[in-house]
Subunit: 180 residues, 2 copies
């Protein structure tokens, strides 16, 4: 793994744990084993780093989710997969979803980071809406609302679980979307 990749990965980890304003270039540099000027070499501004991290996260996340219209997977299984990705973040990593964290502090973000955060959510909603559309008795408007509801619920559930220091809180909170 190159230093560039290590910087991106370390930044992701720190943001997911403490937010965009909770880490510094020097901390990244220390963790990676370079100096902060070297982080600036790859990313001239903090916003540049933030935007790249968010974009990479979106791509990675959607890749892991797979094709929402794959006939080999029942819609319910795909919803479960979505939930499981977020549960993993909480139960195994004790970290927020990157864009959930960025979304909370959206008003304080540089424009490009905010834009990438928005794109994450748009793509998540799109993915979920496609899955819900494959279910019977769910119209376009209903699928959309469910998609919004699912994204909101898992993001909120992660906040709840972390605040209450109770991973079970995540499961309780998502129960309804998991079974509907």
């Amino acid at each position: 793994m190159s230093k560039l990749e290590e910087i991106i990965e370390t930044a992701e980890s720190m943001i997911r744990e403490r937010g965009y304003n909770g880490f510094s270039f020097r901390e990244i540099a220390d963790a990676v084993g370079v100096k902060s000027a070297s982080v600036h070499y790859h990313f001239p501004t903090k916003g540049d780093l933030g935007a790249v991290v968010a974009r990479a996260y979106t791509e990675k996340f959607l890749l892991a989710l797979g094709d929402p219209e794959a006939v080999t997977h029942a819609p319910k299984k795909l919803i479960e997969r979505y939930i499981e990705a977020c549960r993993y973040a909480i139960a195994k990593q004790d970290k927020m979803c990157l864009c959930g964290m960025l979304g909370a502090e959206i008003a304080a973000l540089p424009d490009d980071v905010a834009r990438e955060t928005r794109i994450f959510f748009e793509k998540n909603i799109e993915w979920l809406a496609k899955v819900y559309m494959r279910m019977t008795n769910v119209g376009a408007a209903g699928a959309q609302r469910r998609a919004y509801g699912a994204v909101a619920t898992v993001e909120g559930a992660m906040i709840l679980a972390r605040t209450l220091k109770d991973p079970d809180a995540f499961d309780k909170a998502v129960k309804q979307i998991a079974t509907s």
Copy 2:
């Protein structure tokens, strides 16, 4: 309104907009018309201020919600009231719920602020569970899960709406808890 109250109110507003690490004593002082040392006079550390703000917010929020067991109000109406409180934050103020914001960055908070944030969520869940318990065909476990689900959904819905710059996203996201 005393300066002390102004400090608390201003801090609440800034945290709800930008998070705990997105404001400083000097900014509070400027906004209130005093110097930062005066903010320190009332609150020796930032954590002291954060904890007081969070506690005051919890009390104010629960007071506004009212008695969950009041027979004058149908459970559905009370759930709507809960949702409306959060919609107002987004639609009229473009701000997060204070403890939703603090919850996102919980790992970076001083202990007392984190504790007050936890208490907010515990009390919200307790309030909602009491409301759901008054509905027919909802057992204790079901009420609990719905309460967790409702809190999670509205917190996530606020993040979504703010990130997407679309207050309607809030309504789409909470639709299922509003109608169930």
